[in-house]
Symmetry: C2
Subunit: 313 residues, 2 copies
């Protein structure tokens, strides 16, 4: 006997519903797929596919029992305010690893080959010859070596950069020197030319990109944050750029996206903002992953990549 | 019996004599190495290691018989005015291939991941979301698949870009679709997202980056010129950028380096200038290649990478 059809709500400020809804409708012909704000009666929503909570919050959906995140991280869902009975799964789209790795490689190469400096020289009308150095002399550190971080660290190492990885719990990664835990953070940071943050956002990692951490880096290091905006203490970044401790920062994530129009990052010549594009789920492949997880949930089978609500990722 | 010591003149506006002279002196203990302008009596100069001709020209050195170029190309030596008896060798430093490949990968990735657009949006205070596309949908063409071009094309293909190569004579390169000759140029250009020029500069390739060529590219294509400045018709590039045929250009070489202060490239927001840094001979390894070629010449053995003075490369 087949279960009664259920209603799935889709909401994202990043992912395009016109790409997702037709695919999900085809893959889940027995369910009703609704794209916010066309949600119908909130009391009928059983499941949700979300980047963030829709306006008004998830409290509006009394029957909601399962949320599939559209992001590799889930902090943007603000789990703390969700009832513990609500189950949540992260997005693990195999296409996102190479996409994130490519974004970070682009940002690291741009610094390694001094395109940032060349851009500033050009704007100032200066022809400043800076000879290139080998990637062997440009060590890169990757904080967070989960699904996206591991692919990224491996891709950077394959290009020829010496790569270190750091994570809260010990990991092992071929071709990458791995560090773990707070005690190994100074050794991880020592001498890095560029630091890439791909951590999950948790109580432990919130604000981890701060003045104390920057002070462990050599002068002139570069920062790339494609984790979450709240990893970064923005005032500390501004101070580190002003002092020369950091030579530049590429930020794909911010506390507020987009930042307010008077935010100093907009006009900072050593900050490059990208509009949260480092790695997105590709509906071509990811819609079937979402549909599969929804069917698993519906059949009371274990869902894939379920979030540990205590740990937060 | 040992030959009488000879005098080697070093001159470059790009390569640092303080890096090169000590290495060459150590490697060639029997020769006298002089760094221009400290050349002594011009009549005593037998051999030269050059980027360009020193001021006053090579006619000043009546005994000069062999020139080792510091560049992978030799057009900057202005061979046409040199006596045909003067033998010339190109620089083939194995370190230059990866360096050039890295430069081109940096420039291509910057466009592919739209960092150029993000930079413009940021300066305009706009948060323009542009979703990333797979490198599979970003075909890149490499003109010139000699030592540097072959390594570059292969590196771009390894990253995931569909790569085409074009050269005057047919070549074959694993993982790269190769085209040759003028007749195959339209097929090579058709649909390219980015075009990389690494050609040698000859009478046939001078001005090859012109309006007729740009018109074979799709609207919004990108140009990267790391060959020679004279490959490009600069006015045609400005017109192609104005019409939208080209969306941007990264130029490591120019007709005049640096360009005059009133040159429109300086302030063009879709032109990125880099100060001839794509690939330089690394004195650490290349000094021994130069010394080896000088010893070959001195022993009347065949020198490596000798230029065909008729062909021009």
């Amino acid at each position: 006997m087949e279960a009664a059809p259920c209603t799935v709500l889709f909401h994202s400020t990043l992912d395009d519903p016109s790409e997702w809804i037709p695919r999900l409708s085809t893959l889940l012909p027995n369910e009703t797929i609704r794209a916010w704000p066309d949600e119908g009666d909130p009391a009928n929503i059983d499941l949700a596919v979300l980047w963030t909570q829709p306006p008004g919050g998830l409290e509006r959906y009394p029957r909601l029992s399962f949320v599939q995140s559209l992001g590799a991280g889930v902090n943007q869902l603000e789990l703390d305010v969700l009832p513990p009975r609500l189950r949540v799964a992260r997005m693990v789209d195999p296409a996102m690893g190479p996409m994130m790795a490519e974004y970070c490689l682009t940002a690291v190469l741009r610094y390694h080959r001094r395109f940032d400096a060349h851009e500033r020289s050009q704007r100032a009308g200066r022809w400043d010859f800076i000879p290139p150095v080998s990637p062997r002399h440009f060590p890169v550190g990757v904080m967070g070596v989960g699904e996206l971080g591991a692919v990224t660290a491996t891709a950077l190492a394959a290009h020829g950069f010496p790569v270190r990885g750091w994570s809260s719990r010990p990991r092992s990664l071929s071709g990458v020197t791995c560090f773990a835990g707070h005690s190994e953070l100074p050794a991880f940071l020592d001498g890095l030319a560029a630091l890439v943050c791909l951590l999950p956002l948790t109580a432990q990692t919130r604000g981890i990109l701060n003045a104390a951490l920057f002070d462990r880096l050599p002068n002139g290091a570069y920062l790339i944050n494609a984790g979450r905006g709240a990893h970064l203490v923005e005032a500390d970044l501004l101070a580190a750029l002003a002092s020369g401790r950091l030579a530049g920062a590429t930020l794909d994530v911010l506390h507020e996206e987009p930042p307010p129009s008077d935010h100093p990052f907009w006009r900072h010549e050593r900050v490059l903002l990208t509009p949260h594009v480092a790695a997105l789920a590709d509906p071509d492949g990811a819609a079937s992953l979402v549909a599969d997880n929804i069917m698993r949930f519906r059949r009371s089978e274990p869902v894939l990549n379920e979030v540990d609500r205590m740990r937060g990722y």
